[in-house]
Structures are given as structure tokens and as C-alpha cells.
Symmetry: C2
Subunit: 340 residues, 2 copies
DNA sequence: AGACGGCATGTAATCCATTACATGTGCATC
DNA sequence: GATGCACATGTAATGGATTACATGCCGTCT
């Protein structure tokens, strides 16, 4: 393994000078720089990161806590993070969390103390994961998508409450008044806020809230649990004419369930999803949903984290990216239904 | 930051003894060990990884080269790798490759020389990526799913050729003789081998090969390109009665395309996929496909890599995991078609 | 001419854990 | 009782890059 000393010898200068050239710390004559660069090139020298990190007390590694890569939402966010981090000269260490809190806390604490990471991005903290704030004072942290409302740590997300409200208002505008919701039995703030938005829309339209029209799918937004939740709603004595779902996969489950019961979407039932992942246009009817800029959320998370790592003065602590309602084929006016 | 010296002082021993206890190198009295452990606990000491890695000349990091996390096939493999690596005390560094060769080579070379990783798992090498073999002699490497046939570096995969042959034989057994293939215009060995298997089956059944029945989708197995490829096959003067697809997503594209042209799967067209990702049972007709043990491939890759890192004597260089044909709803006997 | 400042570069301390080698104690052997 | 060995522990060198401080040179100002 060629080391800095070898380069120094080859270039006829001292190790300090080589280091100065490599780190662009200035104060080196252009012709000396040239000699050094030539030697680096010739010997294929690459600085040993362990040594550098030890001395500089950094790692140039970002820790990412993600619940599961298989979910297309998360995998898009991850792509965004990884692309930016590479450009900034960071490596990304991805840890699968499986939603087990105690383990995560221990892991994080240990990795940071060991000096393995310079900062952290979380993708799926629960709204009551207060342990995070203990680390945030010492270590740069950005919460992406999900965050803890009261802790006011740096976070980036879309306005879930507003987006949900708009979705439901779209259904109301089409004449629906019996509107169900399929949400998830997890502890994510996004679920809470989408529920709030759903209720906001009902309240604003003067539609009475109805516990019976609220169905819970499993915490991981699985297709199967979406089907089950839909069954619960559609077998009610007075079933809803529209269902707002807090995720696309759940919405697909709802559509599947409706189909099984002989209901045709959107004629017999309107359905909306959330996220706009790839599947939404893989089968007819194409899903009406809220597009969430996953990749961009990832990108911006990393940029924001970087600002905090280098302690940029004006670094933001709260960023909301715009969402967009996408009208496709799964919602229809209630008139079209009654005319049958 | 508490360091080993602090622990030594607190426990009333030397740094060497602390280190020996932590690394379980033996030769320390049980009561001394107890004192040390108590001090470590009390001070919340965690060894600095940069220092340890510098001294031991390792990183306890595994590099993973993956083309895109959004593909459910890869994300399952990644889960398998990550779970095992965590148990073995390794962190995983995931790099998105985007299929750009030159970049990858430079990246890999640099990361290893910098001492950033102890080994590497590749998920999507092209069948002609010979540059890998240059690193494999110096650095532990495992190729998962895709590998370079001639280089005989450690790899793990399923028997794609055999699986493809079985799929096509299933179609032949149902009476199909005009069988198309939708493959991908990439340079993966799996594509090559699935094509070989397809041809094997035709040859064995005495069915003449027909260039017209071979359609190419894009390199990334996109849904849209599957649709396009299917259109090319189905608009032939004599279209196929069955299509073998080298990936599930392509198969879904084919089914969508068929639907658009008024063809009903499986009555008017039989379709088979490959991989058995989640989508296959999200919509009717459920896809007949070959189940590939993605998660297990990931798990075994990491175990195998570990064997090579610690230079275990009998470490394998070639592993094939069993696949399984899963019959669902997208294939039907040709008789059922002619009877219409 | 002497003093001082700025600049390019060199020397050596530093980051922290590991480990080769040194030390000291106690027990067994002859 | 002297020698030797095993064992527990300590001391100090080591890994490779960064950087505070030292050095030496040249030019400028008084």
C-alpha cells in the first residue's frame, strides 16, 4: 500500500506539502503542486481513510435509518439521498430498522460514539420517538418524511394534512358524502396528519364524522391488509361511495377487494391513493393519487444534512416540498353512479 | 469523547489490558476482566473505529454495487445482505451504479485503496465486465445473481438456463408451439442464459427457432418497455400464442398490452414471468412465474463473502440456489383457446 | 545594514486502539 | 536454593494522514 511518505519522496517534498496539495489548503507554489500531483498520479496514491478520519475526527459517512427497501416510496428516497451524498463525497450506510425502537437507539448511539458516521437521516421515525432529540444536539440529524412533531429537529416532508384535505375535497366536489378512509395502524406522523386532513375536509363541508368509516390496515401498508380493510368498509350496512387511502398500495388493495365484491371502480366506488409510486399506472383503472416528490425529498434531506454538518449559518430546520394531486381513473362523480 | 486511556485509569489497569478484554484475546484474569467491563459500562466507552481500523488495517465495511433500489428484486437481495452483515458486525455501504462501467471501476479501485471496504458484493455486473477480475485477486468479492461467466470468480445465483427451459417446457406441454420471448436489451448473463433455456426447450421439442418471436425490452426491465415489446410480437401476421418473459414486470407489461389489444390472458395468450416479486399477485390474473429466492441470494452472498474475507479454507466459489416454477393464472392449454 | 514580515516548506506532535516486547510474580523442577 | 517457565500485566512502538509550530529565505522599510 503506497502511503503519503512514498509520494513525498517521489516528489522530492515533505509529507506536509503533499497533504497540503491534496487538501487544497493553499500556500504551495504551482510548480510544487504540479510535482506532487504527478507523483500521486504515477504511484496511484489514495489516502488511507481510516488515518485521515482518525486525525480529522470525521468519517465522511452518513447513516440512514430506513424501515424496508422493498417499499418503492423508500427506495426512491434512498436513490435521492445516495446521489447527492456521492457528489458531496460522502458514503451512505443504510440500516434496516424493522421498526424496533430499542435496537435503533442502541445502534445509533454506538455508531456515533464509535465515530462511524458524521450525520444521520431517518426515514421512518414514529411520532413518539423522542429518544432522537437526545442525539440531535450532539450529532447532525435530518428527519425525512416522518418526524416528531414536538421536538422541532430538522425535518423535511410534504404537507400531509393539506394534501389529504385536498384529496377528500376532490371527492366531496364530486358529490360524495359518505367517504371512508383506509389508514394504517402505525405511529407515523404522516398517518396522523392525513387523518387530520380527512377530518378537516369533512368538517369544512359540514359532513358528520363517522367512526364506522375509518378502517385500519397493517403498519407496513401491505396490499393484503388494504384488501382486508376495504372488506370491512364495503360490507357495512351503508358502505361508503368513496374511499381515501393513505398509500397507493393500500388503494390497490381496496380496488382489488372491490372488484372481488363485484364493485367497479370508479363507477361503484371512488378510490384515491397517496404517494404516486410506479404501480399506479400499471393497471387500469389508473389510480388517482397525490404525487409526493420522493426522490426530491431524499435529495433535499442530504443537502440539508450537509448544511448542518458544516454548520452553515442559515441552515433550515423545517422544509416542506410541494405535492400535487393527480387525477386519473379511479374517481368519478356520484351522479354517474346514481344514473345507473 | 472517552477513550481507552480513560477506561484504563478508571479500572486501574493499563490500556493493553482494556484492549485485551474488549477484543477477547485472552490472558486476563476473570476479576480483572470484571473491573474493566464495569469501567467500560460506567463510562459508556465505545472504541473509535477509525483508530481501530487504521491499526488493524480493516474497515468492517462491505461495499455493495447495486443498479437501482427501486427494483423489488434488488431490494429483496439487499435486505438479505444487510441482515446478515449486521449479525457479522459489518456495515454495508450501498452504491448505486446506474450501469456506467468506467465510473464503477474508478470508484471501486479508489474505495478499496482508501481502505474503505473489506469486501464487495456486486448485484448487476454485465457479462463482459472483465475489469472485476483485476480486483478479485486482491479484494474479496462475490457476484450475486449476475456474474461473468469466464472469469470464475466467486458467484451465487440460480440456474437461469434450466429455469427458463422449464418455463418454456411448461408452455409446450400445454400445446403451445408458437412461443415468443420478451427479453431485455442488457448485457446480463441471466438474460443470455434465459434465452439459452428458451432455445433449449424449443430445440428439445423440435420446434423451429424463429427470430420474429424474439422481442427486446429496455435494459432496466421497465413496464413500459414490456408493453412495447409485446406490441411488436402481437402485431405480427402470425402472433405467438404464448410469451415467456425474462422478468415479472415485463410480463405485467405484456399482459397490459394484450388487454389493450382486446386479448384476454390466459385464454387468448399465455404469459410467464420470472422472479416472483410482490406484484405478481396484486392483480388478476395472478402471474405464473419462476420464484427466485432473492432474500436468500442476498443472505448467502454475504455469508460467502465473509468466508472469503476470513479466508476460510473450503470457501465455495460457485453456488446455485434452487428456483421453483409457480403455476398461477396466466397460462392455459392451447386447447381451451381453440375451443372458442 | 539591521529588523521585520510574509511566504514556501519542513519537522514533529497528534489522533486512538492494537500488539510486540518487556517486566514481574509465583510455582515447579532439579 | 537457583533456574526456568507460565502467566498476568505494563510500556511503548505502530498504523497513516493532518497540522501546529519551526525554519529559512527573500524583499522591504527605516
Amino acid at each position: 500500500m503506497v502511503k503519503i511518505e512514498d509520494v513525498a519522496r517521489a516528489a522530492g517534498v515533505s509529507v506536509a506539502t503533499v497533504s497540503r496539495v491534496l487538501n487544497e489548503s493553499g500556500g504551495v507554489l504551482p510548480e510544487t503542486q504540479e510535482k506532487v500531483r504527478e507523483a500521486v498520479e504515477r504511484l496511484h496514491y489514495e489516502p488511507n481513510l481510516s488515518a485521515r478520519n482518525l486525525r480529522k475526527n470525521e468519517s465522511r459517512i452518513i447513516l440512514i435509518l430506513a424501515p424496508n427497501f422493498s417499499n418503492p416510496y423508500y427506495s426512491n428516497v434512498l436513490s435521492g439521498i445516495c446521489d447527492v451524498s456521492r457528489n458531496l463525497g460522502y458514503s451512505t450506510l443504510i440500516y434496516n430498522t424493522y421498526d424496533s425502537n430499542a435496537l435503533d437507539e442502541k445502534l445509533v448511539s454506538s455508531l456515533f460514539q464509535k465515530n462511524r458516521a458524521d450525520g444521520m437521516i431517518t426515514l421512518a421515525v414514529n411520532r413518539d420517538d423522542h429518544w432522537l432529540s437526545r442525539y440531535a444536539w450532539e450529532y447532525p440529524l435530518v428527519q425525512c418524511s416522518e418526524y416528531v412533531e414536538e421536538d422541532s429537529l430538522p425535518h423535511i416532508s410534504v404537507d400531509n394534512r393539506l394534501a389529504a384535505r385536498e384529496s377528500v375535497q376532490h371527492l366531496i366536489a364530486q358529490g360524495h358524502r359518505r367517504i371512508g378512509i383506509v389508514t394504517s395502524a402505525n405511529r407515523y406522523l404522516s398517518s396522523t396528519n392525513r387523518m387530520r386532513g380527512y377530518l378537516d375536509a369533512l368538517d369544512a363541508a359540514g359532513i358528520e364524522r363517522n367512526e364506522d368509516l375509518i378502517a385500519y390496515a397493517s403498519a407496513d401498508y401491505s396490499f393484503a391488509s388494504g384488501k382486508q380493510a376495504a372488506r370491512n368498509l364495503l360490507t357495512l350496512p351503508e358502505p361508503p361511495s368513496a374511499i381515501f387511502c393513505v398509500s397507493d398500495i393500500l388503494a390497490l388493495g381496496v380496488i382489488a377487494s372491490a372488484g372481488k365484491m363485484g364493485l367497479q371502480v370508479p363507477w361503484d366506488l371512488s378510490v384515491t391513493g397517496f404517494d404516486d409510486v410506479d404501480y399506479t399506472t400499471m393497471f387500469h383503472p389508473y389510480l388517482t393519487t397525490v404525487a409526493v416528490p420522493c426522490y426530491e425529498l431524499g435529495r433535499r434531506s442530504m443537502l440539508l444534512l450537509y448544511d448542518h454538518i458544516v454548520q452553515k449559518p442559515g441552515a433550515e430546520r423545517e422544509v416542506y416540498l410541494p405535492h400535487q394531486m393527480i387525477l386519473r381513473e379511479t374517481t368519478a362523480s356520484i351522479a354517474s353512479r346514481e344514473s345507473i
